[in-house]
């Protein structure tokens, strides 16, 4: 379960202070899949960053599985992320020097797990990547890269998956394929998914849709 209490976040832009969140509160239960929508600049990505521990709020605290991530050191946060968190980006962000196989197994290996197991093999089949595993990112299409990124995010069977516009760079057909596969993979693991999107079609794949407007969540 994820709980956020009294989250305040602001940015300084030149001489101006921009308030992103002012006393934001919410709870996400395990296994929920939620689409987060809102206008550009509403703070969707910032919320994802706060939940992933990449950014810190000015005040308030966030608990994931009863662990407060707001007060963790960099080393502990890193460990936490690799054990409990999966992340998917709009720009795929694969490691260019590693093959698809090594990209997928990278976080598993960081956790001391074997590079492959039955689950990852199933995952690779589910994402239809079995023929592309020995290719480098530069040799893959955008859709394939995003599927590799999804496989990497899910390969460690994380409790929480954060996806930041994962279909934003893909055409409609590929986006549908990727979303189908993402949902299949999430179901396989029963992870919690928070997905940022501008597309109502993409949002329709998930259980709930939350809107972020003027620093508040409209559930």
């Amino acid at each position: 379960m994820i709980t956020a209490r009294n989250i305040c976040k602001e940015y300084c832009d030149a001489s101006e202070k921009i308030v992103i969140f002012d006393n934001l509160n919410f709870t996400i239960h395990s296994g929920e899949t939620i689409a987060l929508m809102g206008q550009s600049g509403a703070g969707k990505s910032t919320l994802l960053h706060l939940l992933g521990g990449f950014d810190k709020p000015e005040s308030g605290h966030i608990e994931i599985n009863s662990q407060s991530i707001s007060s963790m050191s960099d080393a502990r946060l890193s460990r936490f992320r690799r054990q409990f968190l999966g992340m998917v980006f709009q720009q795929y962000n694969l490691i260019p020097s590693l093959t698809a196989r090594d990209n997928i197994s990278f976080v598993r290996r960081l956790n001391g797990l074997p590079a492959e197991d039955e689950f990852t093999r199933e995952l690779v089949h589910a994402l239809q990547l079995q023929d592309r595993l020995d290719h480098y990112p530069s040799q893959l299409s955008g859709g394939e890269q995003q599927r590799v990124a999804i496989a990497r995010a899910i390969a460690t069977q994380p409790l929480l998956i954060l996806a930041d516009e994962p279909t934003g760079n893909l055409d409609e057909q590929t986006a549908a394929q990727v979303m189908t596969m993402l949902m299949r993979a999430v179901a396989l693991q029963q992870s919690t998914l928070l997905l940022v999107t501008h597309s109502p079609t993409t949002a329709s794949y998930l259980d709930k849709t939350w809107r972020l407007e003027q620093g508040q969540l409209l559930c």
Partner: protein, 872 residues
């Protein structure tokens, strides 16, 4: 169109406003490279100019000298007076020698300037008396306005009458610690006249110039001269001079073919090679900075092309940028070069005088003399470093990105070609014409070819390691090694520069150590005695028996050297007494590698070393049994001699055909000399006389009491004796000073290379932000990422050092054994000190890691998510 180009140029340059670090790296690379090469060119040019002046003086104005006969050490002043009375007017008396001061020794030269006063003179006589009218009155540098205080004629008047004046150049005053108006105190408590310091351009050398009477007094040469300079010699004068001076002096014609001594040329060659290396390293730094700026500016260029700018307009705009960099680099480079030259010239000038007999002071030319060079070098550096990346940027089609095409296959091919070319030239000298240039081509081929191997070797290493399946258990390491494998395009260039710098440092270190050893050996060979006496025949008759019977003296021998014919050509013969002391001062080529100098066995393979020692002793036995001779390197080179060959010589009209037993090091001497058993020489030439005695003393601490005893008993002056120990010490200290300068230059190269690697690390860190932030988000802590980046740099640096070490040794070997041999016909052994080499390697790696710490630290402080979402 001009307006459009200006807008494009300013827009492209505005990139550096946002990225000032790139501008700093680019400018520092270009400026440092230009400055270092320019410095060495200025120094070389000043040295060559000084030698040209020497040549003009000796060859052009002083047509001949009257020197004391071989068995005497001075001339009677009466000879000068007689010549003048007989109408020989173009002559000048000189009394010259060393005087002992409270702190050490100074060279003093006494002249009689009155013979010169009837001629126009704006400049004091230089060297052995260049004639004043040899200098142009129109040359502003030589005008009296440039001298401090009054007109030169005032000085001449004060100079020639008591209480006299001592004139000294700025450089010599600086080296001796003399101040204007000071009266230097001598060891015997007397004082020299008041010192007036003149500008270096006045033409004084490394000595104190004073009136002849003053010099005679301090040198103990009452009514005696050390030489007479002749500036014009008519046939009548020549006959008259020969007739009058027959008893006392030899007429020696000035050598018009005087050339830089081999040591000097070798020294200047090394200096320029160091400058060239620094130039290359600077270009690498600039190339690195420009390449990165090009990658970052491709979006801007794309937008320009989409907005209607043609490729040609962008090319012109980039040429405008290139010119700006060249101009800036020439200004900054010139300033640095001027500062460095000002710092280094006095020391190097003094060394050239002490070691290589150049008496003219090195003068930093006027800025307009080398401004052209600075501009040319800057332009060359800018073109080498920036042209290729900028052309790629300009030719980029509007809708595509620049892909970093791999140049590795070409660089590997080029590298192997250069290494092969160098090897063929080195090991098959018959295919080329051996010369200084061919030697340099060999060294440069090996050097550049070896350095270009670095990216390929690094890539191969990482490719090999990435194949190990076991690495998968260490994902961070696996990622780092894979990243390194792909990253050699950028890191490889930086590491090539680093390799060149370390190899240059190693080569300079080895060459300095080897030069030092060669120079020490040279001093040991030329000054093996504890005490050296120059006496007249009467004194020799008294002093030799006294010394022979003295309990502190191990050996006293007369030093014989005279003219002889070698294959019908003039040369010199030396006498060699049969004792190990004398033998040990001849370092023989065939035994020097084994370290055998005196017949002792050496460590290592006992059987072979014993055999070598026996052969060594047998050589000397044969020499003293009159079965052969030993020859110097110059003679061996001239006649292509090797041990075992036979040679025809004529000594005092006695023709002899004998065996060459060995070749001894002569350190660049151009004179053909051979040595034979002294008894044999005396038998062949019974009337041969000498005025020199060499003395070996059992215990060096007894030199001073013996000298006091000799001085008191036989009324000897300072010009009667020379203490080789103090000369060696002085020469070595001068040598050290110069090679400190050389080492300073080589360390500067290393620092420049470290800056280059820092730039590469900095740009690599910027380029890898996304990847680093990604692995951070995936669960690798910032500290671990920084450690991995440092480990990557450490592996790169270590592998580069491992390649630079043999490369540096190879270059030093090529320079000493091939370039010197091809250029000057002599060489010396390499001295490799593993401790010093280890120190260089470890300190290089440490400097590199220390330099990279800041970018790595800054990288860990970056905001992960911002990079991954905003830039993608």
């Amino acid at each position: 169109m001009l307006n459009r180009i200006l807008i494009l140029g300013v827009t492209l340059l505005s990139h550096y406003r946002r990225h000032p670090a790139q501008a700093i790296f680019l400018l520092s690379g270009l400026s440092l490279g230009v400055a270092m090469l320019l410095t060495t060119l200025i120094i070389s040019s000043a040295a060559r100019q000084a030698f040209t002046d020497t040549q003009q003086t000796l060859g052009g104005q002083a047509v001949a000298h009257l020197l004391p006969k071989h068995s005497q050490n001075s001339l009677p002043e009466q000879l000068y007076r007689d010549l003048r009375l007989k109408g020989v007017s173009h002559i000048m008396p000189i009394a010259e020698g060393r005087i002992k001061t409270e702190k050490g020794f100074m060279q003093i030269r006494g002249l009689d300037l009155f013979p010169l006063l009837n001629r126009s003179s704006n400049r004091l006589p230089n060297q052995t008396g260049s004639e004043p009218d040899s200098y142009s009155d129109n040359d502003p540098d030589n005008s009296p306005d440039n001298y401090p205080d009054n007109d030169l004629n005032n000085y001449l008047f004060q100079f020639s009458f008591p209480p006299y004046l001592a004139l000294v150049s700025e450089s010599y005053a600086q080296l001796q610690g003399l101040k204007n108006g000071q009266q230097p105190r001598l060891a015997d408590t007397s004082t020299l006249p008041e010192v007036r310091i003149l500008k270096d351009s006045a033409g004084l050398g490394y000595f104190i110039l004073c009136d002849i009477r003053c010099a005679q007094k301090h040198l103990g040469l009452t009514q005696r001269l050390t030489s007479i300079l002749i500036t014009h010699l008519s046939p009548t004068d020549k006959a008259l001079i020969k007739q009058l001076s027959e008893q006392h002096a030899d007429l020696v014609m000035a050598d018009k073919s005087i050339k830089n001594p081999a040591f000097t040329d070798a020294f200047l060659l090394n200096l320029q090679a160091i400058g060239l290396l620094a130039f290359l390293v600077g270009c690498f730094i600039a190339f690195n900075a420009v390449s990165f700026s090009v990658l970052q500016r491709q979006q801007t260029v794309k937008q320009m092309r989409l907005s209607g700018a043609t490729a040609n307009e962008i090319v012109i705009a980039l040429l405008f940028e290139l010119s700006c960099w060249a101009l800036l680099a020439s200004i900054v480079g010139s300033i640095i070069a001027w500062l460095l030259s000002t710092l280094l010239l006095p020391g190097i000038g003094f060394t050239l005088e002490r070691l290589f007999f150049n008496e003219n002071i090195l003068i930093l030319g006027r800025i307009q003399d080398w401004w052209g060079q600075a501009i040319t070098l800057s332009l060359a550096a800018t073109i080498i470093a920036t042209l290729l990346p900028l052309i790629r940027l300009a030719r980029q089609p509007p809708m595509t990105s620049i892909t970093e095409s791999s140049t590795r296959p070409y660089s590997l091919l080029l590298s192997l070609t250069l290494l092969g070319l160098g090897s063929i030239m080195a090991f098959y000298p018959s295919l080329i014409k051996p010369s200084q240039w061919s030697g340099l081509v060999i060294t440069a081929s090996w050097f550049i070819g070896g350095a270009l191997l670095v990216p390929s070797i690094l890539t191969r290493f990482y490719q090999l390691f990435c194949k190990f399946k076991g690495l998968l258990r260490y994902p961070a390491l696996h990622w780092m090694l894979n990243d390194s494998r792909l990253d050699q395009q950028r890191q490889g260039i930086a590491m090539t520069a680093f390799c060149i710098a370390i190899a240059a440092c190693i080569a300079v270190l080895i060459m300095v150590s080897s030069f030092r050893q060669a120079f020490t050996d040279y001093l040991d060979v030329t000054l093996p005695e504890s005490l050296y006496l120059t006496l007249d025949q009467n004194q020799i008759k008294d002093i030799k028996p006294f010394l022979s019977g003295h309990p502190d003296v191990e050996l006293v021998y007369p030093f014989f050297m005279s003219n002889a014919l070698i294959n019908q050509q003039p040369g010199l013969v030396r006498g060699l007494t049969n004792d190990s002391q004398r033998q040990s001062s001849f370092i023989l080529e065939q035994y020097s590698v084994l370290g055998i100098h005196s017949g002792d066995t050496v460590s290592g393979d006992i059987t072979s070393s014993t055999k070598s020692s026996e052969a060594y002793n047998e050589l000397w036995r044969k020499l003293h049994q009159r079965k052969g001779i030993i020859v110097n390197q110059a003679l061996a080179l001239n006649y292509k001699l090797k041990p075992g060959d036979r040679l025809s010589i004529v000594i005092n009209n006695h023709p002899i055909n004998t065996e060459v037993l060995g070749i001894y090091f002569s350190y660049g001497s151009l004179v053909d000399v051979f040595a034979i058993d002294q008894q044999w020489l005396m038998e062949l030439w019974p009337q041969l006389q000498t005025n020199r005695l060499g003395v070996f003393i059992k215990d060096d601490s007894r030199i001073s009491p013996l000298l006091t005893e000799l001085t008191n008993r036989f009324q000897l002056n300072t010009h009667h004796y020379v203490l080789p120990g103090s000369i060696k010490q002085l020469a070595l200290s001068v040598f050290q000073r110069t090679f400190h300068a050389t080492q300073l230059l080589s360390v500067t190269i290393l620092l420049i290379a470290a800056i280059g690697v820092y730039c590469a690390s900095y740009t690599a860190q910027l380029e890898k932000q996304i990847q680093y932030r990604l692995v951070h988000i995936l669960g690798l802590s910032s500290r671990k990422i920084a450690c991995m980046a440092l480990l990557q740099l450490f592996i790169n640096a270590s592998l580069t050092c491992m390649l630079a070490l043999p490369l540096g040794i190879l270059v030093a070997w090529a320079s000493t054994k091939i370039v010197l041999r091809y250029a000057f016909g002599w060489y010396f052994d390499l001295i490799i000190d593993p401790l010093q080499l280890s120190l260089i390697l470890f300190s290089s790696i440490a400097i590199l890691l220390a330099g990279a710490l800041l970018p790595f630290y800054l990288n860990t402080k970056r905001h992960s998510a911002k990079y991954l979402t905003a830039q993608g």
